[in-house]
């Protein structure tokens, strides 16, 4: 088994406005991108489960021009709420980094 980080050149999370979080997983080349897309690893359900959001509120985009998968979801708490743990949303991608998927047959 491989991990998602093995195929990604960049994984990041950011705020998209005060009420939304967005996660970008960007691949280095087309083969890695196709492999990660085909693995169906990142779905509304899988990411929603990891981040505690109902799958119907999670949007997944395959964005080929940048060889990227984007996942956008509502924040549990708005940006900078006194109980919010991550002002810039910058570390919320953490649980996705070591997700396991099949190796890519070269």
């Amino acid at each position: 088994m491989a991990r998602l980080r093995d195929f990604a050149k960049l994984m990041r999370s950011k705020n998209a406005g005060p009420f939304q979080l967005t996660i970008d997983v960007m691949m280095e080349n087309r083969a890695d991108y196709d492999h990660v897309v085909a693995s169906r690893l990142l779905t509304a359900k899988s990411v929603g489960d990891l981040l505690g959001v109902e799958p119907q509120l999670v949007q997944v985009f395959e964005y080929a021009p940048a060889l990227a998968i984007k996942v956008s979801l509502p924040r549990a708490l708005s940006v900078g709420d006194p109980m919010d743990n991550d002002l810039f949303g910058g570390q919320m991608f953490g649980p996705l980094v070591n997700l396991e998927l099949a190796d890519r047959s070269s």
């Binding site: 009420f19 967005t22 649980p95």
Partner: protein
Amino acid sequence: MNQIKYIAPAPMVGSGFAEEPFLAALSPDMAFIGCDAGSCDGGPSYLASEDKVFATREGVKRDLRILVKGARSIKRPLLIGSCGGSGANWAVDLFRDLVCEIAAEEGLHFKLATIYTEPDRSTLKERLAQGKVKPLHPAPAISDEIIDDCIRIVSMAGHEAFLEALDQGADVVLCGRATDASIFAAIPIREGFDPGLCWHAAKILECGSAAVTKSDGPNGMICTIEEDRFLVEPVAPHHLVSTGSVAAHALYETGDPFQMKEPGGTLILTDATYSQVSDRCVAVSGSAWQQGAYTLRLEAASLAGFQTMSIGGIRDPALLSELDTWLDEVRKRVRNSIERQFGWRMDEDYWLTVRCYGRDGVLGELEPERDSIGHEIGLLMTILASDQRRAASIASVAAHAYLHHTVPAWSGSVSNTAFPFSPHVVDLGPSYRFSLNHVVELDRPNELFDFHYEDI
């Protein structure tokens, strides 16, 4: 060939962008200079407060001086949006004062426009009653009372605000909250270029050099819009762009990489294509614009309370092996002590938040690995209450409890927390929440704004 060229010297006013490459790139064939100053990324505190600039006053003045002098040297307009970060009225005034200081120091004369975008509350309530204030998703509740409770409300201006100021002959435009892209879309749209290309180019340029392959600090980008494509080229000679780096910019801080809402419609990137012209130039075409109802997004912040915090480390293996039980016990102790001492009830009159760094400080209860902790834990304890003195009183009791509460493995009095600071309890001041996520429908684009003009 019919084309328009403009320059975005920096991702943000106050970022400390590189001056030399900007001055070297500046030329009279540029139609304007634009720079965004805003962001809601730093949280509601910047929106609510009367003095927090999302950079520093000194940093802003340094950048404004370069921008104003640069624009006057080629006699082209300088457009700045979302002054101060929040785009609050006071921040527009601050930028205006800084620009006036710079003009006096440099001996410059020009026509200055200031645009205030905090909407009148009664107008907003009228629109709410007319059903013209619509929730985005997810949106908190809205009512007349909630509008009154907001410490500040700003509306995000569209490109029409810049055009109105330019029509009045403004050389320098300082706008309150505006969409980042509207700064850069305004003049190209007025000149008749394809709105899809204008808005897409603006979306890329508003972040300055962010779309380069390897960024080494805040720098700029140059855009040239032609009939059926636009070109982006970094300002700094050592910066490169690739189709991937430019395309990737559609992902940055956006919820949807294919559709981006602006006040009068939606930018559609489904058919956008990117081609490499040189290692320093990428061409983009196929971006589309879909006209829609004219709506302005509202941003607002209300007071959540006042916070006091204490931070410390726990290194005792005997305590760490029973951390959850111990934390529960301390929470109960604080609850009981405060109720006995002051009569204030936890989760009603005040809130105690404990974050355990090294265990689940980032993800909280979502942390899948919260059972595998290391040899020490950073404990951040925060009290939220309705006023600062109350928060401080509770935090003082709570910090004492975290320091001295008994640990089952030991008998006798203990000191459980290593505090790195004296005082070990620190007031954080007021704490805010974003309190609206709504749009307001308008009949005319600029009807909520105040425009002021002066000859400097």
